[in-house]
Amino acid sequence: MSEVWTDICQFSDLVKNTGVCALHKGEQIAIFIDDESQVYAISNYDPCGNAYVLSRGIVSDYKGKLTVASPLYKQHFDLTTGECLEEPKNSVKTFPVRIEAGKVQLA
């Protein structure tokens, strides 16, 4: 079964090492882009702080992993796996994301 990809925004809307938030199939999703134009998507919900804020955290190279530090209480979430490195039980979902023809797409 092939996935259906939905356009979210222009690639040019992203600024390196920062995030944006998308509304997709009723869920809030945080999309990040790194130095090498690689994109990542995890839930926007921060279970530690109980608010939808992860897209607004600082992208951080933490113990060799590319993470986002929550803007509320600074826990690190692995951008690739969604794992919360300080409190693993508070890990978050990841989502398939890609860049296609100048657009950022979620499946």
């Binding site: 979210i8 925004c9 809307d13 600024v15 390196k16 090492n17 920062t18 944006v20 938030c21 998308a22 509304l23 997709h24 809030q28 999309i31 790194d34 130095d35 530690c48 702080g49 109980n50 608010a51 939808y52 804020v53 607004r56 955290g57 600082i58 992208v59 951080s60 190279d61 933490y62 590319l66 530090a69 803007p71 509320l72 209480y73 600074k74």
Partner: protein, 857 residues
Amino acid sequence: MSKQKLVVVGNGMVGHKFIENMVEHPDYANYEIVTFSEEPRLAYDRVQLSYYFSGKTVDDLMLTSPDYYNENGVRFIVNDKVVAIDSINNKIVTANGREEAYDKLILATGSYPFVPPVPGREQAHCLVYRTIEDLEAITASAQGSTVGVVVGGGLLGLEAANALKNLGLEAHVVEFAPRLMAVQLDEGGGELLRAKIESLGVGVHTEKNTTEIVKGETCRYRMNFADGSHLETDMIVFSAGIRPQDELARQFNIDIGPRGGIQINNYCQTSIENIYAIGECALWDNKIYGLVAPGYQMAKVAVSHITGEAVEFTGADMSTKLKLLGVDVASIGDAQARTPNCLSYTYLDQHKGVYKRLVVSPDNKKVLGAVMVGDVDAYGNLLQMMLGDIEIPGTPEAFILPAMEGAAPALGVDALPDSAQICSCHSVTKGDIFEAVKGGCTDLSGIKSCTKAVTGCGGCAAMTTQVMNAALTEMGVEVNNNLCEHFEYTRQELFDIVRSKKIKTFEQLINTHGQGKGCEICKPAVGSMLATHWNDYILADEHLQLQDTNDVFLANMQKDGTYSVVPRMPAGEVTPDQLIALGQIGKEFNLYTKITGGQRVDFFGAQLHELPIIWEKLIDAGFETGHAYGKSLRTVKSCVGSTWCRYGMLDSVSMAVLLEMRYKGMRTPHKVKMAVSGCTRECAEAQSKDVGVIATDKGWNLYVCGNGGMKPRHADLFASDLDDETLIKYVDRFYMFYSHTADRLQRTSVWMDNMEGGLDYLKSVIIEDKLGICEELEADMQRIIDNYECEWKKTINSKERLKRFAHFINSDATDDTLAYVAERGQPRARIDMAARAKIGKGEIIKTLDITDVAEPV
């Protein structure tokens, strides 16, 4: 068993120290204490007495309080002098007829100033310098005087001369001996000190024996000297040494030395077994000790003997280091080289005004004494070598010569025994500091609060730091001040790199001086440094990734992900029209509204997409960003000052507006706050701010490095009676020096507590330009000021930037998870108590329901 009753006669520094040591003793429950003072108040810090003239109040000088005594069950009677001792029935009688029985009597009656028996000495404007009342009399007398003379060129005399100078008088010092500070200095040191003091405009007259004080011709009095010369003056302060206050003991048959002083043994007992004497009234081995440290030692010995231990008093070191009239002076041990066959090394630099003499043993191996004027950096090392009887490492002369290429030899603190006393004011040993470090104090401010070291005269700061670092090394703690894993540099080093290599972006810096990709620690820190130095728009694409969300959206994120909005309201001044505009905006966006501690308005609950709309309206109403989100200047709080207040000395509001407009937008290592008060009533609470300004009748007093908040710190008086221009110059330099040298997220208070050399060092950098950097500091500040622009104004004019202010990049929908409840007529975030308990890692605390307070009728 009933309690033993201790009666302490005299509540000066030493009497209070005795009480404090008793109260802290584990067996204190077995004792009760009563203390009498003939002065109207409890113990205060006589060592710091001269600060009374540079702005400190009586409260600042107090060493204790009625509350402390009450809490610890110490009864105290002030304004009542003990006039009789009945050593047969063990009781005392006071001037007011009060009787008090004792088991042990402690005489801590101190000393009185010696006034030479000169005819005419009893006139109205002939005063002494010892108590707060004396200082009040000097201040009153100075008001009708233009010339003042101090008789006595010793330590206290020079302090008194400084006081007269600060009171605006033409000051002179008259000394009987051939040089100043004859007890502590040798001839060379005395000469240099004289030259330095004369260059400050204070007249020095040595070898003068005053024969009479008569009516003057040009002034109130004329002092005639034995050599036929004379000096005209309006007032005279006698400071010609002290005499032990032994009258009470003398009258009631306690043994007194031939030249005065209550004789004591090694346990501080007098000739009557259950009567002790401590401090300046006591005579031990025919010596009176006129310094506070030996007095404290005696207090400790007496406590020890009373509680059944066996510490003995075995004499005290009289070495001293202090600043007199702005001149650094130190004296150690045998300063005058009286030891037979001893050897001396002397260094004199007349250009810089430095004199040093080192006295060593005949075999050239041990330090016996030293004199230093103008540069006292070697004091700590030399003192430890003398006290510890340590062999001099390397050549002795290296310790007094100026540091040339290559480091001067350091006395390895490893060589010191654990019992070596590092801080003599508070008897803190090397062992105590090691203990504190092992207990978790790993920086100087921790050591200070834990051991009290460095908090007395401050002379041991450098030595304490060395011992602390040795302890850290021994524990295997690498003293690592690296910013984070991505930069092996301290913030200060990185700042130097940014400035010297003209680095403008994070990428440039991490590629050339770092590793990895950076994290939430180094990114905002570097962002702050770039902003301090270049003051570029912080939301430019290349800087965006460095900023915390607060800086990205120019607002403060709250717990639910919404933001608070704070427009600048310089000095808390606001027009009625602006207030109306604020009210309309708050109402339109349904924002919870509160007044901040910094005298401005804070709106809560603004959603991301609302921020630009709110700001457009705020800017239309004449507001600009308040930087409440930044590590930058927050507010300059002010009282209403001389424009309205009956007591205001100067226009504090205008000064506060000027300062706020000058420093707004400046990025610093941590947030900074300021305040300006219009008089010493201090309604703006300036002494709790990073920079506080208080108006006096002669100009502005500048205070620095205060803090409220988590760890309150009273600001230090930095400079007095400044005009507007000098005030601003000092504040410019202060902020830039702080920005250049502080650690990341280090408030000015902690920065100061960790600064080697402390306040004096900071003054030497900023006022005297010791490092020769003031011009550069001012230029750096001017660049920031010139590049200021309101970040919100710039943002709402940029379409590109505004795109980021949407909750969703792909939808106009807003965050529907936010929930509010009404409370006292306003919306507030719904508190999820379970989630709060999780964050607080504790139980849910029961609270009263005050959501619906009745409206006033």
